[in-house]
Amino acid sequence: MRESLMGKYVGARVNRVEDKRLLAGAGRYIDDVSVPDMLHAAFLRSPYPHAEIGSIDLTAAQALPGVHLILTGEDLKSRTYPFFGTLNFPRFYQPTFWALAVDRVRHVGDPVAIVVADSRRLAEDACELIEVDYEPLPGIATVEQALDADRAVVWPKSKTNLHYQASERFGDVDAAFAAAERVIVETFDQHRHSNQPMEARGIVAEVDPSSGEMTIHASTQSAHMVKWCIALLTGRRPLRRVVRQMISQRDHTKAIFKGMADYLKATPAMVAALKEMAPVMLKQNVTNVERTKAMNGAFVGLMGRDPKTLPAALAGDVGGAFGAKTAVHREDVAVCAAALELGRSVKWIEDRNEHLTVGSQAREESVDLAVAVRHDGTILGMRARLTIDSGAYPGFPYGGAVIAARLARTMFPGPYRLPALEFHSRIITSNKATYLPYRGPWEIETFVRERMLDVVARQLGLSRAEIRRRNLIGDDELPATMVTGPALDVRMSARRVFEKAMDVTGADDWEKTRAEAFAAGRRIGMGFATYIEAAPGPPGYMDNVGPGFSAMVDREPINAVLEADGTVTLHTQQVTHGQSHETTLAQLAADQLGVPMEVIRISYGNTRTAPFGLVGTAGSRAATFASGAVLLATKGLRDRIVDLAADLLEAAPSDIVVEDGRIHVAGTPSIAVTLADVAHAAREKGDEARGAARGDEAIRVSELFDGGAGGWSGATHVCFVEIDLDTGLVKIPRYVVVEDCGEIINPAVVDGQIRGGVAQGIGAVLYEKSTYDDQGQFQAGTFMDYLIPTAMEIPDIEIHHVETPSDVFANYRGVGEGGAIGAPAALCNAIEDALSDLGVRITEQHLPPARILELAGVIPTLSPSR
């Protein structure tokens, strides 16, 4: 039964636990961290998109009083390990590079030097005194330039700017196209834009002057990821010292190998994955020697490191990330290297200009698409070619672009019957800032598919709802399998969600409404988009990214602790940064344990106490993974509590009831014990009752959850617009989202996640663009150039929930990304609809007012196409 839905908290609009702190200004963000004797860092950054570095003159800067240290890329060679590619795919080049530019700068904002001084201001003053001789090179700013053999190569060792290529066929594509009654072809473009959380990046590398040990305070989505990546890339010593250390800690070294062997023994999926990847890895090791050396050097360095010198990482409140903080950035490594060099704590807070210029960019993708259809709208197959502009330096520990490409290919069919798909991917490198994952990194598939469905409908003379009805997978066809591999289980509700959206909005009568408005001189439009989101997807979904991924990430740990005082702490590797885990996980735990929510505390972001996991909070996974792990761990804790209480109350465990934190025998609520009593009893009883409890904990239960049945979230967005063709301004009088994310833990949190995502999708279409000129010069470094929608631009968003019940354990699914996935397509479809009588076809995603008037033929077309 759906036990959890019957709880007191789960399913209710419980106020957010974190709001009391955050709304009162008592949050602790990275800039609130201040440690004794802390110094401040600033970066000197390249003003050029692409240039050779001649000489760097530090004399004047070093002479400035209050400046403690300046490091350049050359200096980092002996102090850090270079960044290297960690992924293995055929036809994939991953450059090796340093935290600071060496020999060459590759985008505007490329860090050239780090200055550490008594204050940020002094550090910035010193940056202005550094003289760098640049020899400008031609910049690569478009895909065409990147692929032009006569132009510069961003990474000379690769000899080409084409860094990844893949071609796959699913189903019988030739047969599909041979059987087609029509083949419709179009190319869609999406422009570079950017994550832009309220809190930009930042780090405080705190060095204990007595021990030299480092604690990293980070604004991150995963504390353990920060810890291990920094451990891997900093603290470089000469190889002979590394080897000497390995010998001197022989037992430790052996234990590492044994640990790996045990892990592999226990994880046959990983062994299989390694076997599958072996030929690719071997080939890459031989063809990309630079990477092989870097990788080996860093890992040997890590093994030959005294474990006592490993850093710890702490994340406090994180003011948003949207994917930008899934990476360890070059600046992080430079700051830590400087702190270790000085033996003093160093703080770096990214300013908005930096964040816009280099913090995280995303989404610059295009798809050439051909669709084979029958006259009745039945889709027979598709051929697609995706191109991503990944910028110059890939993210670490994994490049966002290749993951996005793999996921876009996997998700391309969406919730539709697609019997055959040919999918090509290309990733080019350019003189732009790093491409990172952004809320729904594979969103291009929904944009392209939903846009194309409108195009096809119009060409075939069908209504836009009709073509979707003809191809959406219905309940009666489930379970099914997407042609690209992932399983669609019986809870996949896209068809029902779509029908509800049509009902709620009266979309089937739209043509009439629009015709009347047009006749009255009002230019209105309506568009919709339907998608499903792997949040977290079926079991093994992450293997679609690459072999072994699921085995690596599908293990969510939770430690549930009954403290001596009768409160309960849940330790998680999730790092909540707007997702409200302090509320939702506490709701689940409180209902499971039968205690008031106030009793539960969520502890996160501290590698000293959080169970190990590298993913942190990303990919809309927590709703299933962390919720399931909480249910398992608190169930275990509850069993122990009930056993001990049964002893205290001299009753059978099966007769024990826990209500509002009081534990009593069924029927006699007046005689009760409390959690504190049980905690006391556990401590009296000793080890057996306490599990793995440490210190003054009373009971500790640790659980790992593998995601169980996983599942899909999904939604249909319906967007209404009204366009003023005098000015090109687009108004959104109504925006409707109908969604299904399984059982809802907290509707207010779900609504908040959806609204934020939709706002970002609207922002992408009407406001946000990381503009580069055709030389690669960056032109959107302030909020006057890069426009974020405000409350004035975002309409009220009307949300309807569909809850598909199921007996599946932890039937909760993520909604973190969907809003941003559906909105661009729905809005662009609505705009095209409003211009439909003018024969306008929209193939791009960014539609500021001038572009609207160009498309409508009101003014001549002069805007750059991207």
Binding site: E124, N353, K769, T771, L787, T790, P848, P849, A850, L862
Partner: protein, 290 residues
């Protein structure tokens, strides 16, 4: 932000004395809504900041026989909320809600906006349309500069580095005259892509006697399109006349293009705004003054 020496003079004399002493090394700090972002981006490196916010004599809004006078320490919000503005300077009142957001209007000053001379800002265009006068002081005395001679180029006014704009004076609003300010911006509160401050004065015969069309966001300075103004004078204020003026505007104006909008867009919207503002201004003129 680079380091600077902060001065807070109590009197105008003291302020202009500091400006005389430090010359181009000093900058006046009024509301800071334009200057402070420039400092934060290190695009400006003044060694001295002269904060005029606490100079008593500069904080007044005055509606006298000489016109509507706004002192240099007066914030946008003070003017916006003053009961006098709508009657004494309706064009200024009409511009106010378009200036940034409330938080910015709470700090930014009217004179700061004029001195900063951003061509996309509302008030320079309003000053030009309403024939305002700048009252300027330096250590060597006072002078007044008509708006028509004040805006020289992009972020460049006729003030020299030792001069303080102490007040702006708008002449008394004539009878049977209406004003209108409209603009198109990407978002609420943004600087305009292009905007218009229009004035229409209607004579006893019901024909246009005076017209001012002052555009912002349409060049390196606020721009009056006199050809279009002349088209209107002597005509009945009706849609046909407005459309003709709008046509002239779109053809003759030469706005810049940038990442927010092309020049063609701005020229087109300038025409649209011409029709809209003229209709509103003429309505106000014939409907009884403001």
């Amino acid at each position: 932000m680079p380091a600077f020496c902060y001065h807070r003079p109590a009197t105008v004399e003291e302020a202009v004395g500091l400006l005389a002493e430090y010359g181009s090394d000093a900058k006046v700090l009024a509301g800071g809504q334009s200057l402070v972002p420039l400092l934060a981006l290190r695009l400006s490196h003044p060694e001295h900041l002269v904060d005029i916010g606490r100079i008593d004599g500069l904080a007044a809004v005055d509606d006298g026989p000489a016109g509507f006078t706004v002192g240099a320490a007066v914030r946008h919000a003070d003017v916006e909320l003053s009961p006098v503005t709508g009657r004494a300077a309706p064009l200024v009142a009409a511009a106010m809600p378009h200036i940034g957001h409330r938080a910015i209007r709470n700090r930014g000053t009217v004179c700061g906006s004029l001195a900063h001379a951003d061509p996309a800002a509302e008030l320079p265009a309003v000053a030009l349309a309403a024939d305002a006068e700048m009252v300027v002081r330096s250590a060597s005395g006072e002078r007044t500069i008509p708006a028509a001679d004040f805006f020289l180029g992009y972020l460049t006014s006729a003030l020299d580095e030792t001069e303080l704009l102490t007040a702006v004076r708008f002449p008394s609003w004539p009878r049977s005259t209406g004003g209108s300010v409209a603009e198109v911006s990407r978002r609420h509160g943004d600087y305009a892509l292009v905007g218009l401050a229009a004035v229409v004065g209607v004579g006893d015969g019901g024909r246009v006697e005076r017209a001012a069309l002052s555009f912002f966001g349409a060049g390196a300075t606020p721009v009056r399109v006199t050809e279009a103004e002349q088209v209107l004078v002597g005509e009945h204020p009706d849609p046909a006349a407005f459309a003709e003026a709008a046509d002239v505007v779109t053809k003759s104006i030469e706005p810049p293009g940038d990442n927010h909008a092309t020049a063609a867009y701005r020229a087109h919207v300038a025409g649209v705004l011409t029709r809209r503002c003229l209709a509103e201004a003429a309505g106000r003129a014939t409907g009884g003054g403001a």
